[in-house]
Symmetry: D2
Subunit: 301 residues, 4 copies
């Protein structure tokens, strides 16, 4: 993982200059501030700034609902109530900003979350570093046979080594040509054109800022087992920062979102029949085979 | 202006508990934190929290544009460049949260700015305070004759006194009936129903959080001379907080937005002809009389 | 319910002028176009325009997922798959526009849904009609004892009549004074000021346009039993139009959202234990009494 | 430019099935429907659907402003008034949907416009076509010397040919390896991994839907002379469709946005002095040299 020398100097300067503020602070997250958490082979996330805490969620809810409770247990109950009933606006009162280094193909998935603010490194203005994502061998997998968007077994033996060679060689070659085309003593091609020769595993970086409600939405989708591994590891690193930042909200999120399951009207009916002691089987249940299997998996059967 | 006793206690507690943080802080805005600035007869704004400063704008721009400048004069130049060329995303990296008390008819205009987070006091859950906006006599004006959405001359003499009487009497009576309908010993009507009897000058309050770019957009429209007086005074109070918070960005905003004028293609053509010494008059200029007048007003003619 | 004479003429003209288009049309929704569906005592909704249909959802999904299926049964399966797995973007490819007449206190709830386009009648420019919502006697209820934001029993006898009298009298009086203050022969007060004297049950109207995904989100919250009656009836009228417009998407929405239930991680664990034959009771279950009751209600126990 | 056989069949089917509707239609845009307009070497845009027309803008404005005007000249005046005074919500009442084929590096710029709905071809599910953007020789330019994000002179002679060779060869090689890695008889690598080997000039495609206000915003930035050529040509093709769709709104947009110039408070002051006959020069003007030059360029001096 690489931070530029300028970035490291900036971080060191920031760490050396604590300030006093009347704003609410969270010691556990402050301790993480500016510290880059490594992700993948060259990527990272680091928290750059934040606003608010669990108490800010409660405070906003109290404006809305006129609840004047004070004790932590009551705060936790209120936060859980808000989460359970999808009262999302109090969670929007907290904001967090990350600096993220990530492969371009991951950035293209990530950016689809529109309710966020983004400043990305511009390859029109500047030259991208020579860094590309090469998967670790254990993350190199064949296409899943039964899931059009998933992975199957790990690629083994020579095949794995050959694929890694291809990825590395193509990235190195296209990057070398990128540099050549930019070289003023050779072609001096405009940066906005030369960049098109780079491969999608080239690393980019951005500042990404969002509120807690939208961050939870992002994490629910991207920390999910169905998310692509290469974005899931970013989400998992972010989960740790959220846990440090807003432990009560994080707890409610874990229970009511991450670990929760939604059953359709038809599924709910089947559960009721099963609880009444009936033996229900897929044929005739009104569920497709696929849905039935999804449901049974949720119920651990 | 009234803050509830609980709110005052909460503010006092916050002021008594400064914390140390690695986050960037702005002393001038910290000094304003939690201090309610009076607006209208019972309203206020107060800054509850903020994230980022002028340096955060520069920092985000440097990620985008790879500019490593350090000196304040260079920072100012970069900020002015960003503002002039509508590079808005770096300004989105700063965030601010206000607690606002305002009449409902003002809240209805304000809420039309959709890119913000809001938690409003809920009259389904709680009982609204007995506070309504009664204009100061100097703000009581007749309908403008030439502007369908504006005010003309100030209402004078008996007329003004009578209008103020009507407003006060109707607000008091509808509020008294609101209380009566809620009174469990009388009707015990559901709060979500009783509130419909209140007049639009009743005060409500909310937490309102937005980023600096969208705040500038709000301020440009609402601090404008064409905005209704009752929302403009809120915008003007907020301008002071922004000036304390991000002086460089505020300076660029003042020059390139607040004090700027946009001329249409046709108008620009006329200016060129005038600068070339030609006498141009409205008939035959291609501008309607109304546009011509707007243009001449902008040019101070 | 009242449409102005101009609005009626406009509607009649539109109905008399069908056009031919290559765009996808939905006969069942076209038949509803421009027809105002009454809601509450003076309100209505009417569909003004729409874009797309069930096939547009499938078409967009096929771009995303490269699926070339054609048969209706396969389309339905795909739509159900998208809904079940929260693949929301294909549903954003359909758009609908309503003209709605509604009381101001309902409009204030409604406008909190930010991802929509709105043009509201402006009381700065124009004079609001003399129309206010007076509940039907069967919708006049006391405050709920156990739900801070709900209604309890219906108000009966003299109490109901008296409340209706209060509401009617206050609305009529404040409106009469609104007219008086506007009257140029009397005060000629600016419209933007006079409007503050109106009560929150005064009717306003707007054009409201949103995409199918966000409409579903709105309907899930507002057609819910916990929504306030006065907004729920609007949502229910809209459900009928959506059913006519996109029957397959509507079916998936009914099954996977409207009739669905989400169980938390803790609740799911309890269901598994119950399915395994265990007798589980609230004390010691890890759920609060309130959560336990919510869960049992969902399971019909 | 290539549409798949399935896409062509779909388009032919749609063109063969006009329907009758009560919705407003625009004959000039209907005539363009489903017709792909070529952009770059393999790209295109085509209008897939639309909602509303100039009259819908007027209709929405009349709800807001209670203006009952009817004549076309009055409609045009109202539309120009709305555009001039930044009353943007009536323009949000029109919606349009495009199918676009574009290089990935263009898609990455485009997606930064967040207020739109997008369904992109997914390379997790499907295999991208073997199509990449290779600039025409006249669009191959060196880096601008004075603009960090621009192009300078056209690359000539052997240098141009060599650059084109590099781009073509690298794209072909990385694509061939992409195919190899996907090949089940060789490696069978998961699609979500193999795609990372593609270069940024590979074509992707998406459905993109937005409202007229946000489309104008997109077009103002992307049809601008400072936009990168490869996105500007898409914007220019779209301008033609907007002109056919909403000619009055397009006219107002051309005059008040595309051809308009904004002068800062300082610049305005200088213009006033110049109009008063004063000779103003840059030194001492309060403008930087850069700003001065920008201003003089706008004034055609």
């Amino acid at each position: 993982m690489t931070l530029s020398i300028e970035q490291q100097a900036e971080i060191a300067a920031a760490r050396a200059n604590p300030s006093t503020t009347l704003r609410p602070s969270v010691a556990a997250l402050d301790a993480m501030l500016f510290t880059a958490i490594p992700v993948l082979d060259h990527g990272f996330i680091r928290v750059v700034d934040y606003m608010g805490d669990d108490a800010a969620v409660v405070q906003a809810a109290r404006v809305s609902y006129g609840r004047g409770t004070r004790k932590t247990t009551e705060d936790e109950g209120l936060i859980r109530y808000l989460m359970r009933h999808y009262h999302s606006t109090p969670f929007e009162m907290c904001e967090i900003k990350y600096h993220v280094k990530l492969p371009i193909f991951v950035a293209r998935q990530w950016i689809r979350h529109r309710t966020a603010n983004v400043n990305e490194y511009s390859a029109r203005y500047s030259i991208l570093d020579k860094e590309f994502y090469i998967p670790a061998p254990e993350n190199l997998a064949v296409q899943s046979a039964d899931n059009r968007q998933g992975r199957g077994a790990v690629l083994e033996g020579d095949a794995a080594a050959e694929v890694l060679n291809i990825l590395r060689r193509d990235a190195e070659q296209t990057y070398a040509n990128y540099e050549d085309m930019l070289d003023e003593s050779k072609y001096g091609l405009a940066r906005e054109l030369a960049r098109m020769n780079l491969t999608l595993n080239t690393y980019t970086q951005w500042y990404w800022k969002t509120d807690l409600h939208n961050l939870f939405h992002f994490l629910r989708l991207r920390a999910d087992a169905h998310a692509q591994y290469e974005i899931r590891v970013y989400a998992e690193a972010m989960l740790e920062t959220v846990k440090a930042w807003v432990p009560l909200s994080f707890g409610a999120f874990s229970d009511y979102r991450l670990g929760a399951v939604t059953f359709s009207a038809k599924m709910l009916d089947i559960i009721k029949r099963m609880l009444a002691g009936e033996q229900v089987v897929q044929p005739g249940s009104g569920l497709s085979k696929r849905e039935w299997n999804e449901m049974m998996a949720s119920l651990g059967r």
